[in-house]
């Protein structure tokens, strides 16, 4: 594949922006979590683009892929904890709308 | 209150595996046993005088029906499948059916008509198959119901023997 690196980066930027938009506008907790996953994936794509650029001029740079693997592990952790929280919150209010959890007192 | 004492399982039974293998050896052995399914259309079902098939009318040796159109079977029929129109005749029995019709789609093959008949004129034959293309074709008239005495003889004997018990 001879796609220039900036196209990969641009795709990552667009995906990240979409993730940000979803994070700020949606009120469904699960969709908000999915937006976070989307942002993490955009970061992964950036790392892959960088690893490809640097590896193609010299020996293989494994730092990028290894960071991607760690990010995927952390994303799995984040999703698991986030969804467990969603379930716990749902038990309290029977809803997953963020508006229902906007107040601290109850 | 029923107290069910559960059998304490041995270690081998709790491991499942030996028992599973035992079960599987049984099913594997069954694969090679002779099959007990009957291949129906090629291999018809065995029938004998006890077989309660479809109701049929008995014809005497001279070809006339034994039926005197008394209407007892019509009255006994729980499914209202039998319709009889009687007429007078010059024969000794003086009455015979002009029309004797059994709607085989209504008939439930219960055999009450056979029990009700005082003249040994209607019997359950050994015929089991019933198929047709139109509803009308299942209204059996005399022409379709008539059977010779020889054909129904085993059933007649059987019914007589049964009736002698009480």
């Amino acid at each position: 594949m001879s796609v220039p690196t900036e196209h990969l980066l641009a795709l990552a930027a667009i995906l990240f922006a979409i993730g940000v938009a979803g994070f700020f506008t949606r009120r469904n907790l699960i969709v908000v979590l999915m937006s976070i996953e989307l942002m993490l994936n955009a970061a992964n794509l950036t790392l892959v683009a960088g690893a490809r650029l640097h590896s193609s001029t010299g020996p293989l740079q494994v730092d990028g892929p290894i960071f991607v693997i760690f990010i995927i592990a952390v994303a799995a952790v984040e999703a698991a904890v986030g969804l467990a929280l969603v379930i716990a919150l749902y038990r309290q209010k029977q809803t997953v709308s963020l508006d229902a959890f906007a107040r601290l007192e109850d | 209150m029923v107290i069910v004492k559960r059998k304490t399982l041995t270690l081998a039974e709790r491991l499942y595996l030996p028992e599973i293998l035992r079960g599987m050896s049984i099913t594997f052995g069954k694969m090679f046993k002779p099959k007990i399914t009957r291949q129906y259309p090629e291999e018809p079902l065995p029938t004998n005088e006890v077989t309660r098939g479809q109701p049929r009318l008995r014809a005497l040796v001279d070809g006339n029906l034994a039926c005197v159109s008394c209407g007892l079977c019509e009255a006994a029929c729980p499914a209202y499948a039998i319709t009889i129109d009687g007429q007078e005749t010059d024969r000794f029995i003086e009455r015979e059916p002009e029309k004797f019709e059994i709607d085989m789609l209504r008939c439930i093959l219960c055999g009450f008509c056979e029990e009700a008949c005082p003249k040994e004129a209607i019997f359950m034959s050994t015929e089991l198959e019933l198929a047709g293309f139109t509803r009308a074709s299942f209204k059996y008239g005399i022409d379709k119901l008539k059977r010779s005495t020889e054909e129904l003889a085993p059933r007649m004997e059987y019914i007589k023997r049964i009736n002698q018990r009480w």
């Binding site: 900036e6 993730g19 699960i30 937006s35 490809r52 592990a73 999703a79 698991a80 997953v96 | -």
Partner: protein, 187 residues
């Protein structure tokens, strides 16, 4: 030909990402995100990172998104999202906040796009056209070696994190059992 595949995958990724944000039904969101991750895996594959592509599908497709789907179904959110119960548009229900969020997203996206395109002048295309070194296509041994030598500490830290998460999630998601005064669990 291969490049074209990248652009198709990129288009699918962007469209499905938009679908994640815009879908009213969380299940549609999950399916869109799954497709998005699938096309990202295709991009990783095209870039020469087979292992990452497999991991992407294995972890995201096989585990994380199933978890999302599972929770959506468990909480029976299959119908409309909670914000749609009053029949409003999911994006523009609270106009001020939505406008703010969109503005942040657009600003962030356009800023990074401008930065990337301006910086692209400095990224000269390598002479071999981004071909990875020979071991790149089969990067597994190199990856494994780095993972278990140079990055062994983060690796172990990640395993501890996963363990802690497992315990934490169990505690969080476990239903509180009602306890009778005698301290016995209710049947």
């Amino acid at each position: 030909m291969v490049d074209l595949l990248f652009y198709v995958a990129a288009l699918v990724a962007v469209l499905t990402a938009v679908g994640v944000v815009l879908a009213r039904n969380p299940v549609i969101s999950v399916v869109s995100l799954l497709t998005c991750f699938g096309s990202l895996a295709v991009i990783y594959l095209l870039a020469g990172f087979q292992f990452l592509a497999a991991i992407q599908i294995l972890v995201y497709g096989g585990a994380i998104m199933v978890l999302f789907l599972f929770v959506v179904m468990l909480l029976n959110l299959g119908g409309l999202s909670p914000e749609d119960e009053d029949g409003d548009d999911p994006l523009f229900h609270d106009r001020r906040r939505s406008a703010g969020g969109l503005a942040v997203a657009v600003a962030l996206g356009s800023a990074s796009l401008i930065g990337i395109l301006r910086g692209a002048r400095h990224l000269a295309e390598p002479a071999n056209g981004y071909a990875l070194p020979d071991e790149g296509f089969d990067a597994l041994p190199a990856l494994a070696e780095a993972m278990f030598t140079r990055y062994s500490l983060p690796f172990e830290a990640a395993s501890v994190l996963l363990l802690a998460t497992t315990v934490g999630v169990m505690v969080l998601a476990k239903r509180q059992r009602a306890v009778t005064p005698a301290g016995e669990k209710r049947p």
